[in-house]
């Protein structure tokens, strides 16, 4: 067996698994310390329930079907709001990055709107939409819009002009220039926007659901507070953390798939 073969195999197959486990060591340790603190009475169950209690509460809610329903509702709101706001932000980013007329027309307005915290619109949104789905979707879409708009715009404006000149020299049409040079060049920046937007998406949804909703994880947490079910409150918070992590992992995976050319994503 050659040297290359003996070296290549463990690299390709064995390393990723320990790597994947390492990131879970700290969360696991926190849970263990937390459990110990509750069991030895260092923390009162009225302040913080033990992880096992949270799991039991989660199991009960799962059996009643409430948990799955609320997670699904929140997930649906998050993704639809993200899709709407992200698509509009991306479209404006493209338009303003590619056309100076479009940029002159809309950029100033968008920058003004950007400086209004979108959560400040909650009272207005409740007046407009009540506590219907539109209210939540509107807020999430608005929150997601700006990071994606700004980063798409920035990505397109910073595509290497030498590459664009090269594309023109080699006779690329505008469409081809966009598809082969401008869009791939802007993509890393677009992904930065996506990851910012995912954070804002959860934040907005939590706030909107706690203030005005009749379903969803935020609503579940508020209901539990009314009945002093602290284990359900903690459960909701933990589920938000897991969903946030899942969204981040999904965007990372997408990044790895589409940016495999990028030195930062190449296996060493």
């Amino acid at each position: 067996m050659s040297l290359v073969e003996t070296l290549a195999r463990p690299r390709a197959w064995r390393l990723p698994r320990p790597d994947g486990l390492i990131q879970w060591i700290v969360p696991l340790l926190i849970i263990l310390v937390w459990q110990a603190a509750c069991m030895f009475g260092l923390v009162s169950a009225r302040v913080l329930p033990a992880p096992t209690d949270v799991v039991v509460a989660g199991w009960k809610l799962l059996q009643s079907g409430d948990l799955a329903k609320n997670i699904w509702v929140s997930f649906w709101r998050a993704s639809v709001g993200f899709a709407i706001g992200g698509a509009i932000g991306f479209a404006f980013g493209l338009a303003n990055g590619l056309s100076s007329l479009s940029s002159k027309l809309s950029d100033t307005t968008l920058q003004m709107v950007r400086n209004v915290p979108h959560l400040a619109l909650i009272p207005l949104v409740i007046l407009w939409f009540g506590i219907d789905e539109q209210a939540k979707l509107f807020l999430v879409a608005l929150g997601v819009f700006f990071p994606i708009y700004l980063n798409t715009l920035h990505g397109i404006r910073t595509v290497d002009p030498q590459l664009i000149e090269m594309g023109r020299i080699y006779g690329m049409s505008n469409l081809e220039l966009f598809r082969r040079v401008i869009f791939p060049g802007a993509l890393p920046s677009v992904f930065v926007g996506v990851r910012f937007a995912l954070g804002i998406m959860w934040l907005t949804l939590i706030v909107a659901e706690t203030i005005a909703a009749s379903s969803g994880l935020g609503y579940m947490a508020m209901q539990a507070r009314e009945f002093m079910l602290i284990d359900v409150v903690v459960l909701s918070i933990l589920i938000y953390a897991l969903l946030g992590k899942a969204a981040d992992s999904a965007s990372r995976l997408l990044e790895r798939l589409t940016l495999s050319w990028h030195p930062a994503f190449q296996k060493s």
Binding site: Q162, L163, E165, M166, G167, I169, Y170, G171, M172, R180, V181, P184, G185, L187, L259, S260, W261, H262, P263, Q266
Partner: protein, 283 residues
Amino acid sequence: MLEALHYILADSRATEDDRVDTVSAPTAARRTGDAATRGLSLTIRGLRKSFGDNDVLRGIDLHIPAGQFVTIVGKSGCGKSTLLRLIAGLDAPTGGSIAFGEQRQQGDVRVMFQEPRLLPWARVLSNVEVGLGATRNSPDARNRADAALIEVGLDDKRSQWPAVLSGGQKQRVALARALVSQPRVLAFDEPLGALDALTRIAMQRLLEQVWTDQGFTAILVTHDVAEAVALADRVLVIEDGRISNDILVDLPRPRQRGSAQLAALEGEILRDLLKGSEGAFEL
């Protein structure tokens, strides 16, 4: 100044016999005006280019016969790169004209820059296919790109990302991309400027090789006089936006690097370039 050398005036279309060459070299190696070439000839008249109040080119008259290897040297800011960009059609001249010997087709004139300008998100072979221009979607595009990669000796890297290549390899991919449309004029804007000394020499040999194989008209801008002399049939010196010297390099190929003849020629051109700036160099 250059009494030891005979130089032809820019616009005079001297035939081979008119040229007296005191750098005693056989004329057999001379490709100038070679009938077998695929290159395009080029005639430039009264070419001017200004950027605002700044006159970069102040009237260039030049005839380049088909298939000639011309190098352009000059101090930085003399307008040599501007001249190349005008020839390549990247910028429009302020005045004057550039005419090619025949109607130029798409892909007939190609440029290579100091930066490889490869698409980082396209693999090596796709980057070469870009060079096919409008025909890049034709069924034989892949084969032609492969052939160009073989020509520059990088066919084993065809499925690599540009990021993993060395500087010299990237520049060879850029060369393959320029060659794949089988251009008839190839313009080089300091393509070897960013490479280390050994890679430079290897690249110079490669340039000479592909030029010999494909017979295009080559126009190379460089700040390296040794490189200019080693590669060229003819060296143009540009000073203050005008051609100040036009020197025929009539030495057999392949040329011996460091030979006395090349060194003498290089010394003459360097002296010519440095005249007027002695003060600056004495500091």
